[in-house]
Amino acid sequence: MARAFTPKVITANDLLEGDVIYFTAEDTWTRELSEAELITDEADAQLRLLEAEKQNIKIVGAYLADAKAGPNGPEPTHFREEFRRTGPSNYFHGKQEAQANV
């Protein structure tokens, strides 16, 4: 039997700001992983990535990252994506800083 497909989100960096962004079900980009589209079908994932890459004029380096469903939307499964959605651990910079300022 084929291995079960791990759900994915599409993530990239914003061209101008350089910060981490996620692709939504509405073909827009969000700064919040919880608002990203969680893709559960393997074939769909490749198509959605192509759709996201159509916006390469304003994003950089889109890729599929493993994720899982959580109570408030997608959550990371790997610590790299956890850092990307939070910020560095030595200073309160990056997304954690932006979220604190909301």
């Binding site: 101008l16 350089g18 910060d19 790997h78 610590f79 990307r84 200073y91």
Partner: protein, 554 residues
């Protein structure tokens, strides 16, 4: 130090204008990312985990106060108020915006700094002994040669698309503080029959296949420096592998073909290339040397230093660890630790940069250095000024007395910033430094270098650390391997792995156990960690690190 002439200024201004136009074309969609990426990398612009990163070269580690102030300006105006000094005498800004980068480069250009060839498969910033021009043990100042190499390699048409990046380091002293044996090419200025020349070392490097460089030429006359380097690079460009990124560095080329073949091919290329040099480079070198004349060192008593040293234990502790022997009477080399216990190794705030610039201007003959060990140096200070310097440093969080000690840790940015990283490095460094500060043991432990890399590429030089730490991703969890017995000096050696790695929360206790073994086993307080390790070997450390495995054997 070197001052740009009209040609240099015009070249840099044009290059920056080109980059500004490239950024505009990327933003308006005329350039795709695939087209833009090599262009931005040639100008030091990376895209990291959370943001763009700008890597600015500090050529051969030398800065004047105005350049340091401009680094502070960049940190404050376009970043988050700090900069990160790296293991290759660069400074990195972790949070710039794409639209601001051309302005940042223009500001740097105004003080003769740039980010050219701080990335890409090119000849990178030539690094030098951070005590160059000041060390008591130095034969001659290597920086004029480094500047000559900078001018020759910048935009060199043959070497813009090498198989892989190419790093050169140079020292003018037999005591190697520039890690020349772990560079693609290492140069040591030497003297033979009263003439200056170079010992040329090739094929060193860390990364996934660490190697200590081998001697390619015992003595290369000064006049042959550029044609010979060009020959080394030409052979690499032809012979070096391009089929596999991990086998593309010159260390692999030399190792696969053998040093004798590499030498023979280099000498053959040299025969053809040498004739193309008509002596213009040597005229240029003579002109460059005039920029590096030593300051007029003043003659003065050292009574203020002697009094502070006798009466102020805090000053004395700092002087004992952070000062090095200067070649001029009454002077010292002062290393400013930018590794306060618990702080990020190599980070300096804009305010701290200005303080250091002011100190260099007021007391330091206008010179600053950046070390590959991620500290800042006042290379020329009169000893009588040291009490005042120390007081200012203390008031600005810069007086940590830990140079060469266990908390003077090299750490790459790791997964807190770097897109390539497999684990974090910075918090590990912070926790080790904090722990040993709490134990109040570090002066007793003495000289011990810990170096931490957050991936196999080894920017944190872990292979040549006394205690090296390599952060890996093991099945989705951070895991840290330890190596012991590495050496970054003229007696360079690659460390040996202790065994299986340690989880994030086990790594600090593991380091503590290693240090406990050393403290228990050393013959005297004078025997350093490395000396003890070389005497007793790996086994006692293994026994302490892996008690379970030992039980099974028994």
């Amino acid at each position: 130090m070197y001052k740009y002439n009209e040609f240099d200024e015009a070249f840099l201004a044009e290059r920056n204008a080109q980059f500004r136009a490239q950024v505009e074309r990327r933003i308006d969609g005329s350039l795709t990312e695939d087209e833009f990426k090599p262009l931005r990398l040639m100008n030091g612009v990376y895209l990291q985990l959370h943001a763009y990163m700008l890597r600015v070269a500090v050529p051969y580690g030398t800065l004047n106060p105005n350049q340091m102030r401009t680094l502070a300006l960049l940190a404050e105006k376009w970043d988050k108020g700090y900069g990160h000094f790296t293991t290759r005498q660069n400074i990195q800004y972790n949070w710039p915006k794409l639209r601001d980068l051309p302005d940042m480069l223009d500001a740097l250009g105004e003080v003769g700094l740039h980010a050219i060839q701080t990335s890409g498969n090119t000849i990178r910033n030539t690094t030098a002994d951070h005590f160059a021009g000041a060390a008591a043990d130095e034969l001659t100042d290597p920086r004029p040669y480094a500047e000559l190499i900078r001018q020759w390699s910048t935009d060199h048409p043959e070497f813009q698309f090498l198989g892989r990046k190419f790093k050169i380091a140079i020292t003018g002293s037999s005591a190697d503080r520039a890690v020349i044996k772990a560079h693609d090419v290492g140069l040591q200025v030497v003297e033979q029959d009263g003439k200056i020349g170079f010992k040329v070392i090739v094929g060193g490097g860390l990364g996934r296949t660490p190697m200590i460089g081998q001697v390619l030429r015992e003595f290369l006359p000064q006049a042959d420096l550029l044609p010979y380097l060009e020959s080394v690079l030409t052979v690499y460009n032809v012979l070096g592998r391009r089929d596999n990124k991990y086998k593309a560095r010159i260390k692999i080329t030399v190792s696969e073909n053998g040093i004798d073949t590499y030498r023979a091919m280099t000498e053959e290329a040299f025969m053809a290339i040498r004739g193309q040099y008509d002596g213009t480079d040597q005229q240029l070198l003579e002109e460059i040397k005039t920029h590096f004349q030593a300051p007029e060192f003043r003659s003065a008593p050292t009574d203020a230093f002697d009094a502070a040293y006798a009466n102020d234990p805090v000053f004395r502790a700092w002087a004992d660890t952070n000062l090095a022997e200067h070649r001029a009477d009454g002077h010292a080399i002062a290393t400013i630790s930018i590794k306060a216990h618990g702080a990020t190794p190599g980070d300096a705030s804009a305010e701290q940069m200005r303080v250091m610039a002011d100190l260099a201007e007021q007391y330091g003959y206008g010179e600053l250095r950046i070390s590959h060990q991620q500290n800042v140096i006042l290379p020329h200070v009169h000893k009588n000024d040291l009490p005042a310097i120390h007081a200012t440093l203390k008031a600005n969080g810069l007086a940590t007395a830990n140079i060469g000690l266990i908390s003077d840790i090299i750490a790459c940015p790791g997964m807190d910033y770097c897109a390539l990283a497999t684990a974090r490095s910075i918090p590990v460094a912070q926790e080790i430094a904090t722990r040993f500060d709490e134990l109040k043991m570090e002066h007793d432990i003495g000289h011990l270098q810990i170096k931490i890399s957050g991936c196999i590429n080894a920017c944190g030089h872990h292979h040549v650390a006394h205690i090296g730490i390599l952060g890996l991703d093991r099945a989705g969890v951070e895991n840290y391997q330890i190596t012991l017995g590495g050496d970054a000096t003229e007696t360079a050696a690659i460390g040996t792995r202790t065994g299986p790695g340690f989880a994030y929360d086990e790594i600090v206790p593991a380091v503590e156990r290693i240090v406990e073994v050393y403290m228990a086993q050393r013959e005297s307080a004078e025997e350093t960690f490395l000396e003890t390790y070389r005497r007793i070997g790996m086994e006692p450390f293994k026994a302490a690190l892996y008690p379970e495995a030992q039980k099974k054997v028994a």
